[in-house]
C-alpha cells in the first residue's frame, strides 16, 4: 500500500492505495467520486479525464500513487453547491450529450481549455478535445456548447468586473479554481 496525501476538488484527502491501482480506480473506489468514467482503459477515449497539477490527464494511465503531493480536479469540482459551471449549463442548453458516459471527460477537458484560453476558436476547441471521444453526438453540439460557455463566461466576467475582456482573460487563466466557480455561479443566474 502506498500512502497518498493529495487535494481533490480543493479538499485535502489522505488515503492508502495499492500500488497497482490506477488514479481512475483510486478516485472512483477509494475516494468515492464516480464522475470520471472508465471507457477504453488505454488512453484513446478521455472519459476518465481529470486535471492533475493543472494539466488534463487520462486518469486510467496514471497510478493513484503518483497523485501523492498533487492537486486533482474532477468533474465534481466544476459546479458549486448553488450553480452549475457555465460548461455544464451550456451542455444542457445545447443538448451536447446523449448517453452521457463521455460527458464528464469532455467537461473537465473543456474547463481546462477555458481556463487557459478563454477565447479559443472552434478549430482550437476541436483540436483540444481530440483526446475525448463521443460516439453519440457527432461532436458539433459539444463544440457549440463550449463556444456558448466561452460567451457566457466572458459576458459575466465583463458585467461582474466591469472591465475590458483582457484583464478578465488573465484572471480566469490563473490557476485558482475560484475564478471558474464564480463565473459559473453568475452563469446560471442569467438563465
Amino acid at each position: 500500500m502506498v500512502h497518498v496525501k493529495t487535494t481533490i476538488n480543493g479538499q485535502p484527502a489522505e488515503f492508502l492505495v495499492p500500488a497497482y491501482l490506477s488514479l481512475l480506480d483510486t478516485i472512483r473506489e477509494v475516494v468515492g467520486l464516480t464522475g470520471a468514467k472508465e471507457g477504453c482503459l488505454d488512453g484513446n477515449c478521455g472519459a476518465c479525464t481529470v486535471i492533475l497539477n493543472g494539466r488534463i490527464v487520462d486518469s486510467c494511465l496514471v497510478l493513484g500513487a503518483e497523485a501523492n503531493g498533487g492537486e486533482i480536479t474532477t468533474v465534481e469540482g466544476l459546479a458549486t453547491p448553488d450553480a452549475l459551471h457555465p460548461l455544464q449549463q451550456a451542455f444542457l442548453e445545447e443538448a451536447a450529450l446523449q448517453c452521457g458516459i463521455c460527458t464528464p471527460g469532455f467537461l473537465v477537458s473543456a474547463a481546462a481549455l477555458l481556463k487557459r484560453e478563454p477565447k479559443a476558436n472552434e478549430q482550437r476547441i476541436r483540436h483540444w478535445l481530440a483526446g475525448n471521444l463521443c460516439r453519440c453526438t457527432g461532436y458539433d453540439k459539444i463544440v457549440r456548447a463550449v463556444i456558448k460557455a466561452e460567451d457566457m463566461s466572458s459576458q459575466l466576467s465583463k458585467s461582474k468586473a466591469k472591465v475590458a475582456a483582457k484583464p478578465t482573460a488573465k484572471s480566469s487563466a490563473s490557476p485558482k479554481a475560484s475564478s471558474v466557480r464564480s463565473s459559473g455561479r453568475s452563469g446560471s443566474g442569467r438563465k
Binding site: V2, P18, A19, Y20, L21, S22, L41, D42, G43, N44, G46, T49, L52, R55, I56, V57, D58, C60, L61, V62, L63, A65, E66, S109, H127, W128, A130, G131, N132
Partner: protein, 290 residues
Amino acid sequence: MHPFAYVEPKTVKEAVAALSKYGDKARPLAGGTDLLVQTRAGRFNLDAVVNLKKIPELMSVKLDANGLEVGAAVPCYRVYEDPKVSAAFPGLIDAASLIGGIQIQSRASMGGNLCNSSPSADATCPMIVHNGVAVIAGPKGTRKVAIEEFCTGPGKNALAAGEFVVTLQFPKPSPTFGAAYERFIPRNEMDIAVVGVASSVTLDAAGKTIKNARIALAAVGPIPIYAVAASEWLKGKPANEASIAQAAAMAKAAARPITDMRGTIEQRKHLVEVLARRTLTKAIERARGK
C-alpha cells in the same frame, strides 16, 4: 493489474539499484501512457514499477550554448510550450505536439517513446534528424548511444538489464538548420502513424546549397530507419526541387514496410516519397527562416 511494488527513487543511483534488484520483473515508469496499457494487457509480469519522475535530471529541460538536454521523463507539453526550444528544434516540436491528444501530451515523454521502441514512434525519427543522443545510466555507469542506433527491433532496444535513459541530448543547430516531421494517419488526430518521415537540412550561408541532411523513416521497417544513402547524397546538392525529388526517391528505396491493418507495402512506400518531399521542403523553408 497484477499487484506490484511502487518504487520512487530520488537519484539515478537509487533507480539503477531498484531496477537491478528486480531485474526483468521491473519496468521504469516515465509518462506511463505505454507502460500501464501494456501492463494491463499482460505484456509484463511485474514485481515493481520504478517511477523515475522524482529524479531531477529526468525532469529537467536545459538549453544552453552546447544545445538541448531533455530529461527522459519530461512530458511532451513542456517541450513544445517552451518558446526557445520550439524555435531551435522544430522537428522535435512537430512530433511532441502530435503524439496522442492533450491528455497524453501531459504525461507522455520523448524518452518513453524512444524506450517503447515502436517502429512507428513519432518522436524517434525527429530525434534522429536532430542528431540526438541518449544518455543511459546502468550498473556499469553511464554511456551514450546515438538515437539511430538505439532501437534494435519492434519493442527492443540497446538497453541492458538495469539500464534506463536519463536524458536526450541534441547539439545546438546552426542558424541555417531546419527540420520537420510529418506522418500519415487516416484520422485527423490521435492515431498511430501509417508512415512518418522526419527530415533536417543545414544550408550554406546563402541558403542555396545543402551542407548536411538527415532523413529518418517511421513505420516502414522493424525499427525507425535512418535513410543514410538519401541523407548522404543530399550533401553538397543545391537546395531545390530536383534534389528534393531525388532524395525522396532514395528514401522510398530505403523503406522496408510490411502490409498490415494500417496500410500496404505499396501505399507505405508511396507515402515515404510524398512525406520525404514535404518534410525536406519544409525543413529547407525553416532553414531559410521562412
